[in-house]
């Protein structure tokens, strides 16, 4: 079984099949269950623009948007996590743990408070800026330490930055009830109720970052051999690393702008994928791009059924399910005594 899974084509096809199944579940399951025929009919009507505006079509439209955004966010978050784990040679790296989500959130809150920006297309660049600043601060703080950027110092610097950012956000929100009402729904991380055209706003950032990270496999394979070899290969590798770092932060920021901060997916997915693919980074990237959306869609669908008739947002589901995974990694990690 694992032998077959290691063959890239078989594994990719299987991954695509699982993803399709999850997308189907995401269309069918919900507080109002729909039969297969109903979903197919309504989806065809919605997609071809011949809808009659019935209730079923409304539900299917919402679920289609939600599934689409879930796939986009899943790909972005998982690839971002995979690239970050590599760049920092750190099994505990993830846009949430490294503080990138917090930085992007702060930028969005400040944007809501102090500027006239209201569209996602407007504040995605703010989110990117906030994410970059946070990533630079966290990496710089961890690198200044005596033993360089260790997994522990990176994780703690990220946690410290996030805690400080939460305080600033709270300071803004307690004096602005309107912003609080918007923000509390945004901060949990949710792919529901977001129209699919939001993706158009972040598309430029998303596409460029995606291309940079996906094409980086060979570079990352080379740098995995260590700093010495990296230095021997010269300046171009350093440049490439910088570009990949920007791409990883860009993906995280785009995901945050679309769905709010969704934690732990970027952490868990590359570890799951590595179990199957082994250490080749190109395969890990490809696998993460498939498993990320699967995980997002599955947890989102699960969130719809755990507390009927209300829903638990996907960001909460991933945190509740992902934290035990982090604890497991910490317990297994030999680096941390």
């Amino acid at each position: 079984m694992t032998g077959a899974l290691r063959r890239p084509v078989t594994a990719s096809l299987l991954g695509l099949a699982v993803l399709a199944a999850c997308a189907w579940l995401s269309l069918v399951v919900g507080s109002r269950g729909l039969a297969t025929g109903e979903v197919l009919g309504a989806a065809a009507a919605v997609l071809t623009g011949t809808g009659t505006g019935s209730a079923t079509e409304g539900i299917v439209q919402a679920r289609l948007d939600r599934t689409f955004i879930g796939v986009v966010v899943g790909v972005a978050v998982a690839l971002s996590g995979a690239a970050m784990q590599w760049l920092t040679r750190n099994p505990l790296a993830d846009p949430g743990i490294l503080g990138v989500n917090a930085g992007a959130s702060l930028a969005v809150v400040l944007g809501l408070q102090f500027t006239a920006l209201t569209s996602v297309g407007g504040y995605v660049w703010l989110a990117l800026l906030g994410g970059i600043v946070a990533a630079v601060v966290v990496y710089a703080v961890a690198s200044l330490g005596p033993s360089g950027p260790q997994p522990l110092t990176l994780a703690l610097a990220g946690a410290a930055l996030s805690a400080g950012v939460v305080s600033v956000i709270a300071g803004v929100l307690v004096s602005n009830r309107g912003a609080l009402d918007t923000f509390r729904f945004w901060q949990v991380g949710s792919i529901a109720g977001r129209p699919a055209d939001l993706v158009a706003g972040v598309a430029p950032l998303l596409v460029v970052s995606l291309a940079v990270v996906l094409l980086s496999g060979p570079v990352l394979n080379a740098t995995a051999l260590g700093d010495d070899l990296e230095r021997a290969l010269g300046q171009r590798v350093l440049l490439a690393r910088g570009a990949v770092a920007l791409g990883a932060v860009g993906l995280a920021a785009a995901a945050v702008a679309l769905a709010g901060p969704i934690g732990f997916v970027g952490l868990v997915v590359p570890h799951l994928v590595r179990l199957v693919t082994g250490p080749d980074h190109r395969r890990i990237l490809l696998g993460s791009a498939l498993v990320g959306p699967v995980l997002i869609l599955l947890t989102d669908t699960l969130g719809r059924v755990v507390t009927p008739p209300s829903e638990v947002q996907v960001g909460i589901m991933t945190a509740v399910l992902g934290a035990p995974a982090l604890i497991l990694l910490v317990r297994r990690s030999a680096v941390l005594r």
């Binding site: 505990l92 949430g96 601060v137 710089a140 703080v141 961890a142 200044l144 330490g145 005596p146 033993s147 522990l152 110092t153 994780a155 703690l156 610097a157 946690a159 410290a160 930055l161 805690a163 400080g164 950012v165 939460v166 305080s167 600033v168 709270a170 300071g171 929100l173 307690v174 004096s175 009830r177 609080l180 009402d181 509390r184 729904f185 901060q187 949990v188 934690g263 732990f264 209300s310 638990v312 947002q313 960001g315 909460i316 945190a319 509740v320 992902g322 934290a323 035990p324 982090l326 604890i327 910490v330 317990r331 941390l336 005594r337």
Partner: protein
Amino acid sequence: MTIHTHTGTVAAPQLAPAAPSAVAVAVLRQAGRARRRRTAYVIGTLGLAWLAAFVVRVLLGDYTITVPDFWRIVTGTEIPGASFILMESTLPRAVVGTLAGLALGASGATFQTMARNPLASPDVLGITMGASAAAVFTLVVLGGSSGAVTVAALLGAGAVALALVTLSGTGPGGAPYRMILVGVALAAMLASVVHWVLLQADVYLAHEAMVWLTGTLSSATWPEIWRLGVVVAFTLPALLLVARQLQVVELGDDLAQGLGEPPAHVRTRAVALVVVLTAVTTSVCGPIAFVAFLAGQIARQLLGGRSSVAAAALVGAVVVVAADHVAAYAVPDVNLPVGVVTGVLGAPVLLWLLAAGRTTRQESS
């Protein structure tokens, strides 16, 4: 005064060959005396600093109250305007700030000493988060009373402490990094539970919960303050006693034999007291960010690298009362929760500690 704590222990062996025991003992004794003198001096100064912060918090602000007026109001005279501001706003906030600061500072220093790591304070480890998640859930979803919230906070904090010890696979004495990262993970999980609870409330209740979750002194009522006062009055002295035993325990298991009880018992008692102090404080004023973490660190700097739970408690009181004054008057027309100020102050300190590599150094007792 030429002999300080560190030079004293270094100087002793150098002098020892010249005149064996007598001089060495004298030097050590002098060093010990100097250390005690410094501790007394620091604690005295901190007491004065707290008094100054308390007086400023109570009497100054948007509305200045004179000292004679203060005594007349406290002894029962009604002065229109001033009475209300003093009894309903500034005095309760200063009192609850003092109590919370004492409790959090002592808790933080105890954990930091026990784990020999400055990061191991109840707030970084997620114990405070456990208390607040349980409290918010009880308040918003179950609609519990203030007593029920306190019980829930105790249960939440206790559950996280238990989970920390179980999941990190060692007691508070060992494997601090693993314990800290497990704490960070638990805190992240609980934070998302809190976010979910915030979504269940209407916007006014959510706003109230948000203020409380940031850590605020303004929502405390006199009965709650009395409850916190009683808990601190009983628990804090007990914690100070346990902290003395703890210092012996940290010297090693051989010396700890002299205590007449297993080190594990001392540690368990210390954890239990910290959980009670943290949880009750959190149930009254919410999780005030970083105070437990900061107080122990500041006290250590003041004492030249040694830890003292009493000094840390006083630092906590000074920090919370002063930060509350800043929070109340820093931004015109906005009464910020105190946790905003402590959080904004605390995060850079923690980042600096990480950058300076202080977190990897073992603590000397």
